[in-house]
């Protein structure tokens, strides 16, 4: 198991290197230096040169490439052009906010998706099944930010129950602990819902398909002939047979959550990584957007690594075949 983990970890390195090199080449492919745009009439050529010197953008191609790799390996992501703060701090701060939102959404989507999928399979062909399939097909097809807007319209505009944006109320800093927590939870609810529902819908459809497939296998018939009850067969035998592809899917869902949360974060003004990346796009802030991509790539690698390791842990065949 440890050899497999080490091997799998090492195989990430070339991938990381390819991503970093691609991003570097992309940046280099853009004509001009970053400060050729910035100086207006008030900024002289000399100060542009000084900026180039300070940010290290004036050196030769090869040196910059090596420096680029070195900096990323050390975790030094440079200084944001627009916010004039170290990128690493900005990314870490917003990554934490995204993680709070995304991890909750991830757990919820798994619970809701699994429960709905199981319910659909248990009552296969009935109106429950059909209703679940119809609702999930719809929720899975709509844009998630559209759902966010509709939820805002219903719960914030019409009913006035929940706040539409931000992580906490303006005056929250002066409140006591329990009230602050309640306030934060209220702010978390809508963005979390609009992230969870479409993903859970996709998962529901997937669980239903996979489980229906598993339920036709021989070992299910065997279990039934031994007299196991319907619920037990579904959960004990069916679900454990479908668990592996599900866990794989979950690992793959991690980058999707980071990428997919961007628009939701913008709609709900949630100060997370997606919104940071979006703001850096609007500000043409190169170091910041590259820092965001770097962090996202790390998350992607971590996600696929996590998925592979858990499936290796659960299924000896996986570590035998590749390890």
């Amino acid at each position: 198991m440890i050899t497999y983990a080490a091997r799998r970890l090492l195989s990430c390195l070339p991938l990381l290197w390819i991503i970093l090199t691609l991003v570097f080449l992309l940046v280099e492919a853009v004509p001009g230096d970053p400060f050729s745009l910035e100086p207006g009439p008030a900024v002289s050529r000399g100060s542009a040169a000084a900026m180039n010197e300070a940010f290290g953008t004036g050196r030769s191609f090869g040196i910059r490439y090596v420096e680029w790799l070195g900096r990323f390996v050390r975790g030094d992501l440079g200084v944001s052009y627009s916010l004039r703060r170290p990128v690493l701090g900005l990314v870490a701060e917003s990554a934490w906010n995204t993680c709070r939102l995304a991890s909750l959404a991830l757990v919820l989507q798994f619970v809701v998706g699994l429960a709905a999928g199981l319910a659909a399979v248990a009552r296969r062909g009935s109106w429950v099944d059909r209703a679940i399939v119809a609702a999930s097909s719809f929720l899975y097809a709509i844009p998630s930010y559209w759902l966010a807007l509709v939820l805002i319209w219903i719960f914030s505009v019409r009913l006035g129950w929940l706040p539409a944006s931000q992580m906490s109320s303006l005056e929250a800093a002066s409140w006591g602990g329990p009230e602050r927590f309640f306030d934060a939870a209220r702010h978390l609810l809508l963005p979390c819902l609009s992230m969870t529902l479409p993903a859970a819908a996709g998962l529901t459809l997937y669980v239903r398909e996979t489980l229906a497939d598993v339920m036709t296998r021989g070992f299910i018939r065997t279990a039934r002939s031994r007299g196991a009850g319907d619920g037990r067969i579904l959960v004990r035998h069916g679900l454990s047979g479908a668990m592996l592809p599900l866990l794989n899917l979950l690992g793959m869902a991690l980058p999707g959550l980071v990428g997919g949360s961007a628009v939701i974060e913008v709609v709900h003004a949630w100060p997370g990584m997606g919104r940071l990346a979006y703001q850096s796009v609007l500000a043409h802030d190169q170091p910041l957007i590259l820092g965001c991509v770097w962090a996202a790539a790390m998350l992607v690698l971590a996600g696929s690594l996590l998925a592979d390791l858990t499936s290796a842990m659960l299924d000896p065949r996986v570590r035998e075949s590749t390890g």
Partner: protein, 323 residues
């Protein structure tokens, strides 16, 4: 007897044909030009199914009124929710009837016309991107499978690296480094769409490249290029069709998210995402005009769901019928 998959697939194809047909015919069937603002104050956020009259007032102005009542020497009208009067002497022509099936947006533009043009733009872009991506994906997949050895390994590593970063983030990087434009949108969307297709085509070609079919073709003096084009790629046809349809659904969603964020095609062109983003302000006002965001999102949802059910129809059609 047709299976539910086939029936759903046929319904999906029918819906797609109707919607795509209407979108492509937008120029001829839309009731008004999509950016026509006849009276911003009078036509702001009119609800669906509004009947209105367009009054030419004075030399160059027009008033859009939702009710007209004859009074002594003129008309008592409702314009933008407020009562006003127009003297007969002010009118410079006969009133024209207006009918807004889906309402108007914040600038008094007809939603039905905007929706048609937006659909044409958004679905057109997604279609072009997927078509480009299919050609590239099939080409790379087939080349990779036929070359084998280290070129194959290198190509597939590259595919993994590009596929691992969330597509929206890739677009963010490119948009931060340059400026948003339709060309950028098409390039980046196609460049991030072809990888999964390449993998699947490669697997398909790998499976049959040593088959009797391929051997017979080679024995008959067929060149490798001809072998790929005439014998191997057609065999991968169903895989390409199914994947391309699924990718079309993803790409419609992604394009709408990008244009929702204002990073899509610049202003004069109308896209579904941009309509929704402009409709956000309408949610909060006294009118609480939800229709501006509801229609485009629903349209996207219907198209995406139809594309997915068409895919399952394609899969059902590709499978041999149960005996």
């Amino acid at each position: 007897m047709s299976s539910p998959g086939r029936r759903g697939g046929r319904a999906g194809l029918l819906i797609l044909a109707v919607i795509f047909g209407m979108a492509m015919a937008a120029r001829w069937i839309s009731p008004m030009p999509p950016d026509l603002q006849e009276d911003v104050a009078g036509g702001r956020f009119l609800p669906p199914l509004t009947r209105a009259h367009l009054l030419p007032v004075g030399q160059h102005r027009t008033w859009l009124v939702t009710s007209m009542r004859r009074i002594e020497g003129g008309w008592e009208v409702t314009r933008g929710g407020a009562a006003a009067t127009v003297q007969d002497s002010e009118l410079s022509g006969a009133p024209e009837a207006r009918f807004y099936l889906l309402g108007t947006d914040g600038l008094g533009r007809d939603m039905a016309s905007r929706l048609l043009h937006g659909a044409r733009h958004s679905f057109g872009i997604a279609f072009i991107c997927v078509a480009l991506a299919s050609v590239v994906g099939a080409g790379v997949g087939a080349a990779s499978a036929l070359s084998g050895g280290w070129p194959d390994a290198l190509m597939m590593r590259g595919v993994d690296a590009v596929a691992s970063v969330p597509r929206l983030l890739v677009f963010f990087v490119c948009a931060a480094l340059t400026n948003p434009s339709t060309v950028l949108l098409v390039l980046v969307l196609s460049a991030t769409t072809w990888m999964r297709l390449a993998r699947l085509v490669r697997a398909e070609v790998m499976a049959i490249k040593h088959s009797d079919l391929a051997l017979a073709a080679l024995a008959a003096g067929c060149s490798r290029l001809r072998l790929a084009m005439r014998h191997l790629l057609p065999a991968a046809g169903p895989v390409i069709a199914v994947t391309a349809t699924l990718r079309l659904a993803d790409t419609v969603l992604l394009e709408s998210a990008i244009s929702f964020l204002g990073l899509g095609s610049p202003s004069p062109s109308v896209s579904l995402g941009e309509i929704m983003s402009a409709g956000r302000e309408g949610l909060w006002g006294a009118t609480s005009a939800s229709w501006v965001i509801v229609w485009p999102g629903l349209l996207i949802g219907i198209v995406v769901a139809a594309l997915r059910s068409a895919t399952s129809g394609l899969l059902a059609a590709a499978e041999p019928p149960p005996v």
